[in-house]
Symmetry: D2
């Protein structure tokens, strides 16, 4: 019996795919347009509100090639709407600034050589004021287009993609500024008043094991219909069947306290616990006299702290360990005698054990905690796999059977990254609530740890 | 219906696994020991015969960190028997040279810090004569042990592992010396008299598509019983069930002629054809004024040649293209409007379409061609998926469900490499015949091309 | 006969040296203090005026490890006064911010591990407003100290060192922001209204040769007395005698037009013209399809432009070629059949051929051209060796005979850089007028070209 | 009064220079030719004798880009005679192997792109037998040429240059194989029977200071006449006058015992002792948990050893410290409150204080110790500045006034390296006796330490 086979019958509506849905060319109704305008404006405002605590200088920072300045995120998300919609869809549209086409292109090689990624932090011009003007210009014209012009369903899907794309950058804006601030020896706080430790659990929550039976399951999502809420990325589909042996999966994430035990047990010095590439990586990044540890941990006079968006804080032993690489997650699992779940195991467990309002209950961006919180004890039908932290899976990021990227420029969105990266699932404390879903596939290189990443264990059933 | 489900019932006898077979402790019969002695000596002699054309200076060469000197291969394979068997199994055994324990350890961190891999070429001492003495010493004592001592089935499996390990190094010895020779501007021939072009097909063989229906298949191997011929590595199991959608797969490998079309069509200059990491890789390795091409292709005065173990030869347009990276294979497939097969698709196709004597008929090490040869037209039940070239698959190298590496030192054999590498299937013209099988999983990083690697295409069935 | 032997008798007053002048401990008069207050305030204001055209984002930029953000220059120069004077000299002084001691230390290892140089651009905090407050704090307290406390001559010398140190950073602030802006594809102008091309010479000025006879000369400077105007750095002394064979030296700098001839003659492709390290350097920095050229030259549709502090401008063929490395200067000299002068030849020529008001007439910072200008024909007693561009000499930066660095922390100022760098002489269009003098020794690595560097040729006399 | 001004009147006979001596075109007499044949054969045989203890595998080793395989030295020195003499001078000469022109070119870019230096260790072909045949071929034809053809004085100078060039490679052959062997954890001995510690001084020799008065001195050498014994390289001239202030210089080299004090006093941890680039260098090359020390020192269980050409030996505290970089030499001098001598000071001291037979008495290659030995007490007219170890000077390698490199291909010999390197003087225990002289200028980069390099201190005279 397939758990979610009913979703497999849905029409595959994602415009990023080449599969064209039946009514791609039908025009949107007025109500549909009004809903789009609302969603668009709401997400655009949310992005800007995230920059409220930041100065022009803060928004200029780029602390490594993997990250981008806040200013660049603000501009690039606007560039996306201009490039993939306004240029073609709005008659008479004039681009805001010709030079932006080059400098705010992220990686779309088919639109011309993108501006060198590691140098985004060198763009003091355009100024932050110009970038906000750019945003206002885009907002005005998207609204004008939605009001004045015919809008097809296919175009609406592209706009929806742009909105979700902007939500991805909301998350990146926060993870990137956190990394930048972590480089400053004064450890600036993004916001001093985050009450992320308010709800601290008193004493640890026991780790329990959920058992999932062997079966054939349908996995992935083709989108469940039309519109913002039913959107999914092309890499989440096609929905397809898999056979899954029985397995078990942990009821909660690994805590700082548990990870500290691994560290204190010499976990970073025992090669047998590590993947070969992971062991090489920690050898290369070891600094003389400094204990290897998760990215933002700091040992000061024998006590452990961690850098957060509220500045440097004592390590909360009951909270989930965060900012670990895949290598660290895998080594921890080996030390614990377990393994990481595959992305399919994670997805099945999430469908089976999530309660109805799992997304509503999760610790996500809108909670404004910006830090994972200790998890409460749960019963079996109420396990929270969503939120708090992205969870490394044992699955390499690869196409689902039948996947094909669009041959349009926008087709460079997902498929070309399907090599050398690992899938993460679940969303984190900086993921927008309307952006996450069970079928969502995030992906990063196994050495990377500046995202809010954590560890959930799994095991075989003998 | 499961194609190979009958193999799934076999006892999982691989000693590398923690799963202990019933009679691991039973003693071998005299006949069984005699057979082992034969296999052991035969493989050891074969290794040495491969060095016949090489001088002491040749056997010293190490042309990059990925490769090893021939001398090191000769010694390390002996070290394996000494370390994992003789030290413990043969009473009174005295090691040949204490220093060898360190310098001929490849990557077994649990046995102590291995000698620095990129510096293997700096070991002029021990001399090649000493290394051959070492081999003779090991041979004598393994024989003594098999004759004089009780040998358990578990020990016999470990010996068998050592023999297969040596066969892996036979292949590496050839691929590594080929790479070393390719760095020499005089392009030395390993052997001048290789008749690898004798059987050239007159005109191309048409590429046909084999259709495989959707079904549940059992994949992988737990070993089919005891002994050398039924051996399989731990990473080939456990045998397990998978659901496979319908697909089609090419009847032959892509030829030099076909790949040349891709190159001449600007394949190396079109980012949309490439995975993101692949595109970065070819940007970084481009030399000014030199056309990107497969590793051993050379353009001289407008004509294409390729470096072979018989020296520099004109490019044979009908022969399969070889020494391509995964990135190149994937880009070619994109250009051709196809994709690479998953390792599971490859394995299913091999079981369905291989004739009985597929291994016997394949172009493997014993053919002494050391170069892929053009393929003949075949009928559907007689497609040759084995031999000629390792075939890049779309599958990242990962554990099969239920896989666990041994916790012994020898457990560092396969599992710790299950990250960042891609699976290759099929064996090549330098793979020993008794070493290859359909379930065999080879694995390399996607940028690597010094193995005999080629391209087989696959496609979806709409 | 010694040309400038009379300066050798001056008292060596430089406090950086260990040689203590007679009255190091005497207290300054009120007039002397008043003069110091004036100089101090004037230089401090000048620094700040240079940042008028810059936004907070501009002042955050760091485009390579060699350069620093404008904000950092503003703060570090203040740190110098706080660290080497106020902490000790002003009773009851409270440091502005404890964290600044670490983050604004440039390279004084004896004061603790300096903040990582390549990461200066990541310090968005302190904000630019805080840095200006820091400056005001320092200004107030230096003034308070000079008015209220006893000030010894030795302390006055240290203050004077700090003022000259700040002038060095005025120059660096401009060269660094130029480099940062050059990375931005929109080529921002520091100021649009620079009239650097107003005085263009109509037609080229002929290059003439000045002959200097063989003799014993006294070179270097020990300072000519007390105070700001007679200050010299410790590396300019001790004054000492040298024997100099006859030589000749060019009456003007090499022009863009002349350098273009070298380029068009294939100068960058002819290894015989280059020092071995220079040839390696240009091989490593060549980009496919881009002609090697001076740092800020850009070839657009077959025409040459150069990036200036007024933005991208057509190349002025009569103006001196600027932003060349030592390797380029040396290769040009070889191509022209000449050589670069030693620093001693340059200094002798400057003393012999400069007219009285050479410094006043030179193109320096206060001219606000920020670009070298074409030189007018001159007669032999009126050759302008100062200003316009720093001139690479053939001399490695080394101590003069008898040189000893101070053993105080401030002694890390000059001596520890006396290896691997080449001496430049003359000052440039961004050097403050009161900062330059004939004995001044600047020094950079031979591959560096982001300073305003140019070429003056010399030759032997047969 | 000039100490060695009489040498200045000698005819400048060095063919490398462009200055043509009067009788460059005169033909050699039979006696002169016979003498050349003797010298040529003697040096060629000496080179080969140095390879007696080496196997074909040893002679293949290249342990870093700075070093070359012994086989390459054997071939390249032969290539020099073929390229610069036989090709042109011997009618009907046929090159031994066309491919050698490329692969045995060291750095003469004007003869075509040389074979990649770091890959010399990959040339297993030609074999060592072929290289010895190549040498015999060259020897035969040089002899034939000298017997049968007219030989001009200019050609004889070129041959002499080739002979001295081969002597340079004798030294490099030994330093390079020492470096290669040092990488092997079994620490092979080049020869076990070196009695380098036979003459150990019982107790230390006191360090005394030689005083040299201020004066004008003539330095450098133009060659003292014609022939092998009066040869000097072009970089040793022109002879020229310098004014030298008074100074003092140490009577002997710094010992291992003295250097150990520096190390134990924390010399490697005190940034104030180091040049800025030196401090960076030791930070970058520090390995966690390993004490920085001279290149071949090894600390084993708390005791110090050093690797020598006779294998690993206990550190002899009375012997001179060797294999130190310029950075280490300079830091030691700072720690000792002294400085390194300039190359001019060294040369003056050598002329003033060397006894007649200084070269005969020195510890040089022919002593076959291959290791510096402890120095005996000396009187002031009998100070030994030659032999034992090359001595780092404070002088950057630069052209003497009036120096011009030849415009021929052979002109790439010395001049193009005159940047970023430091001069060493004196010769070492592996320098041929007939090769060294007081005016000899050796040069290496300041971080390099694989030559036999040591420390002689100097100081100012107040």
């Amino acid at each position: 019996m397939s758990l979610i086979s009913d979703t497999g019958s849905g029409v595959y509506t994602n415009v990023v795919s080449e599969q064209v849905f039946d009514d791609a060319n039908r025009d949107l109704s007025l109500d549909e347009r009004a809903a789009l305008i609302d969603q668009f404006h709401w997400v655009r405002r949310e992005t800007e509100s995230l920059t409220d605590p930041l100065s022009a200088e803060d928004m200029q920072l780029q602390s490594m090639a993997d990250t981008s300045p806040s200013k660049w995120h603000l501009a690039h998300t606007s560039w996306f709407f201009e490039t993939f919609l306004l240029r073609d869809a709005l008659p008479g549209y004039r681009v805001f600034d010709q030079s932006f086409h080059h400098i705010f292109n992220s990686y779309y090689n088919s639109l011309g050589q993108p501006f060198s990624r590691p140098q985004r932090g060198l763009l003091s011009r355009p100024s932050i004021e110009q970038v906000f003007s750019y945003r206002a210009h885009i907002d005005r014209h998207i609204e004008q287009w939605l009001i004045e012009e015919d809008v097809t369903a296919a175009q609406a899907e592209l706009l929806t993609l742009g909105i979700h794309h902007e939500q991805q950058h909301q998350e990146l804006l926060l993870t990137d500024i956190k990394h930048a601030f972590s480089q400053n020896p004064v450890y600036p706080a993004y916001r001093e008043d985050l009450d992320q430790f308010a709800d601290e659990v008193d004493g640890g929550t026991p780790l329990e094991w959920l058992h999932v039976p062997e079966d054939h399951y349908t996995l992935g999502s083709d989108g469940e219909g039309f519109g913002f809420d039913s959107f999914s990325f092309d890499n989440e589909g096609p929905a397809h069947q898999r056979f899954q042996p029985a397995f078990r999966i942990a009821s909660r994430l690994i805590t700082n306290g548990e990870y500290l035990e691994f560290l204190q047990d010499g976990g970073y010095r025992e090669p047998r616990l590590w993947l070969s590439d992971g062991w090489s990586h920690i050898q290369q990044t070891t600094k003389p006299g400094v204990q290897q540890a998760p990215l933002y941990w700091r040992e000061i006079d024998g006590e452990w702290f961690q850098f957060t968006l509220a500045g440097l804080q004592p390590l909360d032993l009951n909270a989930p360990v965060c900012h670990v690489s895949f290598y660290e997650a895998d080594a921890y699992a080996s030390w614990a005698g377990r393994r990481l779940p595959t992305e399919f195991e994670w997805e099945i467990a999430a469908w089976l054990h999530s309660k109805k309002d799992a997304v509503q209950a999760a610790n996500l961006l809108e909670n404004r905690r910006f830090q994972p919180v200790a998890e409460y004890p749960t019963d079996e039908r109420d396990v929270q796999l969503l939120g708090n932290l992205w969870q490394w899976t044992a699955s390499a990021y690869a196409p689902y059977p039948g996947y094909r990227a669009s041959s349009e420029a926008v087709g460079e969105y997902n498929g070309k990254f399907m090599c050398n990266q690992m899938v993460l699932r679940g969303g984190s404390c900086v993921t927008p609530r309307s952006h996450i879903r069970i079928s969502y596939r995030n992906f990063f290189y196994p050495h990377q740890a500046w995202q809010f990443t954590g560890i959930r264990l799994a095991g075989d059933v003998q």
